[in-house]
Symmetry: none
C-alpha cells in the first residue's frame, strides 16, 4: 500500500515535470536562457513561481536538464553501426530523413540547441563530450566509405556540418521559411517536399546519385513526442 502511494506520488511528480519541461522548452527555445524568466515558465505551466521552484532546483538546472535530453535525441538520430552496413546514399538519406522528421516534430528542441551554441555553448561544453562519441562514430563510418572507394574523398566532419546546417534550418529559420513560402503560421510546413529537396541536395553534394525511392514518403506514423 505504501508502495502504491509512493508510486502515485512519483507519477504525479513526473507528470508535473513534463508539463514544466514543455513550458520551459517553449520559452527557452524562443528567448534563450537569459531572455526567459521563471515567471514566464510558471505561467505557461499553469503553476505559481513558488510551485515551480518546488519542482526544479534552479532556472539554470532546468535549462541544463533540457539540453541534456536534447543531446540524447541527437545520439539516437546520428549515424550508427546499422547505417554503416548500408550503401552510403541510402544511409545518408535515412539520416537526413530521421533528422528532418525530428526537426518537424520538435522544432523547439532544435532551436533550443541552436540558441545554446549561438550563446557561446558555455553550458553545453560540459555535456558535449558525451555526444562526441556519436560524432566520432559517424566520422569513422564516413571515412570507411571513402577508404572502400564507395564515395569520393570527402572530409567527414564537413558533411556532418552540412547535414546539420541544412536540417536545422527548417526549425531555426521557420519564421523566415514561412515568410518566403507565403505559409501562414497555422499551416504545417510541407514535410515531404522539404525532405525531398534537402535529401537530393545533400546526396548530390556528396557526389552521389539518389538511391531509388530515396525521396519517398516520410512515414507520417505515430512518431514519439518525448517532450512536446
Amino acid at each position: 500500500m505504501a508502495d502504491q502511494r509512493i508510486e502515485v506520488l512519483a507519477r504525479r511528480r513526473a507528470e508535473m515535470m513534463s508539463v514544466i519541461s514543455a513550458a520551459a522548452l517553449e520559452q527557452f527555445s524562443q528567448h534563450g536562457l537569459r531572455g526567459t524568466s521563471t515567471q514566464a515558465i510558471a505561467d505557461r505551466a499553469g503553476i505559481s513561481k513558488q510551485q515551480l521552484h518546488y519542482y526544479i532546483e534552479s532556472k539554470d538546472a532546468l535549462y541544463e536538464s533540457l539540453l541534456r535530453q536534447t543531446m540524447q535525441h541527437w545520439r539516437q538520430i546520428g549515424l550508427n553501426a546499422e547505417d554503416g552496413e548500408l550503401e552510403p546514399a541510402q544511409a545518408i538519406a535515412r539520416l537526413v530523413r530521421r533528422k528532418l522528421e525530428f526537426t518537424f516534430d520538435h522544432p523547439q528542441i532544435s532551436r533550443l540547441f541552436s540558441y545554446e551554441v549561438m550563446s557561446g555553448g558555455v553550458v553545453i561544453r560540459k555535456i558535449l563530450a558525451e555526444v562526441n562519441g556519436g560524432v566520432t562514430a559517424a566520422t569513422q563510418i564516413i571515412r570507411g566509405w571513402v577508404t572502400h572507394g564507395k564515395i569520393e574523398a570527402i572530409e567527414p566532419i564537413f558533411l556532418l556540418f552540412h547535414i546539420w546546417a541544412l536540417t536545422q534550418h527548417y526549425a531555426d529559420y521557420e519564421p523566415q521559411v514561412r515568410f518566403f513560402m507565403a505559409l501562414p503560421a497555422d499551416m504545417p510546413l510541407d514535410r515531404e517536399r522539404i525532405s525531398a529537396e534537402v535529401t537530393r541536395f545533400i546526396i548530390r553534394g556528396m557526389g552521389l546519385r539518389l538511391p531509388e525511392h530515396a525521396t519517398g514518403l516520410i512515414s507520417a506514423g505515430p512518431t514519439s513526442h518525448p517532450t512536446s
Copy 2:
C-alpha cells in the same frame, strides 16, 4: 574654426556610437534582445548606463537599428543583375564566397540575424519586406537559368535557403565547429578550406560542375564597415 569644432564633436559622437554599436552587437548576438541588459552593453562600451541613454533612444531602438544595418548588408551580398549574366556555377560560387566572407568578417552580425529570426522575427517583420525585393530578384535570376536550360529544374527559394543555411552555420555554430575541428578560440577558422568545401557542396548539390579556380583564394577586397 567653428566648423572644425563641430566636426571634431561629430566625429567623437560617431566614434562613441560605433563603440556602443559594437558592444550592443556583441551582446545581442549572444543573448538576443531580451537576454541582453543595457548594463552589459554599457559595461562593454566602457560607459555608464545613463551615458548610454544619452547616446541611444532605447534598448529596443538600438536593437532595431542594428537589425536594419544587417538587412542592408544582406542586400549588398545577395544575387544581383551582374551575377545574372555569369554562368550559374560561377554566379553561385561568387555569391557563396561573398556570403562566407561576410560571415567570417562579421560573425556577430550573422548571429544577430539568426537570433532575431529564431525569436520569432517580431522585430524584423517590420523590416523584412525591404529585403524581400532582393530575394525576389534572386529567385528570378535562378528561374531564368532554369528556363534557359542552364541548370536543372530547381526550386529557387530552396536553393537560397540552402545557401543561407550552409553559410550561416559557420557563424551561428562557430563554437561547435571549433569544437569538432579542435580549434582553440584564439585561432581563426580556416576560411579557404571551409569556403572550398561549402562551395563545392552547393555547386554539386545544384547538379553542376565546379567552375575553374572556383575554390581559389577568397578576395580580401573592400569589405569595410564592420558594425556601422
Copy 3:
C-alpha cells in the same frame, strides 16, 4: 480549521491593503499621481518597494482604485430620492452637512479628487460617467423644486457647483484655513461653526430661509470606511 487559516490570511492581507491605501491616499492627495513615488508610499506603509508591488499591480492601478472608491463616496453623499421629498432648505442643509462631515472625516479623499480634476481629469474621465447619473438625479430634484415653486428659478448645476466648491474648500485649502484662523496643525477644525456658516451661506444664497435647527450638531452617525 483550514477555513480559519484562510480567514486569518485574508484578514492580514486586507489589513495590509488598507495600510497601503492609507499611505497612498496620503501621498497622492498631497502630490498627485505624478508627484508621488512608490518609494514614498512604501515608506509610509512601512514596507519595501518590492513588497508594495506584491500587493498592488502598479502605481497607476492603485491610484485608479482610490479614485474609484472616492466616486462611490460621492454617490452616497449626493442628493437622493429621499431628499427630494423634504423641503428644499432642509434637503440642501442635509446635503451640505453630509458633504462637510465627509470632508472633515476624510480630507485626503476630498483632496485626492480635487488634485485629479485639477490635473486635467485624465484618469477620472473613464470613471466620471458613473457618477454622472448621480448629478443628473440631483439636478432633476432641484429642477422639481423650481417647477413646484418651492424655490426661485435657479440653474441646478450652478447650485451643485457652489455647494461643491464651498465644502471642498475646507479640505483643499485646509492649510490656509488654519493659517487665517490661527489654528495649529494638531487641533481639529471647528466643525460646527464651519458647518453653520457654510450652510447658512448656501441656503441664503439660494434665496431661502434657514430651516429650524439647521445649524445644529452634526450627527456623528455611521460614517465609517475611511479609506477602504
Copy 4:
C-alpha cells in the same frame, strides 16, 4: 553704447524668462511641483534643459518665484481702501468680478496656488505673511460694515473663504465644469453667466440684495497678462 548693449541683453534675458515662466506655469499648474520635470518645462519653452538651468537657479527657485508673482496678483485683487467707501453689496460685487475676471484670464495661476496649498503650503508659508496684511485689511473693512450696521453680523474671514472657494472653483475644477456643462475644450467658459450666478449667490449669501447693474457685463477690456 555699452549701456545699450547691456540693455539689449537684459531685454533678451527678460523675454526668455517670460517664456520660461509661461512654460513652467503651465506645467506646475497641471502637475504640481513634484510632478513637473525640468525637461517638460524646457520642452515647452522650446529650449534645452541646460539652457533652462542657465536662466534659472533651480526648479524649486523657479516655482517659488512663480508663487511670489501669484501672491502679488492676489494683493492687487483683494478688498482695498477704495472698496471700503462703497456700499457693501457693490464692493463685494466688484471684488468678485475682479477675482473671476482674473480666474478666467489666468486659470493656470489660480490652479498653481491651489496646488501649492493642497500640497501642504510648505513653500508658500514663507511668503504668506506678505499677503496676510491684505487679508487683515479686508477683514477690517468687512468688520467695519458690520459695526456700522450695513450688513448683518458675519464672520469676515468666512466670507472671504467663501468668495475665494467659489471663484477658484471655475479655474480649479474647469474640467469638471466643462463636463457637466457639456462644453468642449476649445470653447471658452461663459464668463457672464458664471459671473452673474456667482455674484448673486454671494451677495444673497451675505443677506444683502443685489446692487443695480451688479450682474452687468464684465469689461472685456485689455486686462493685464503678467505671465501667460
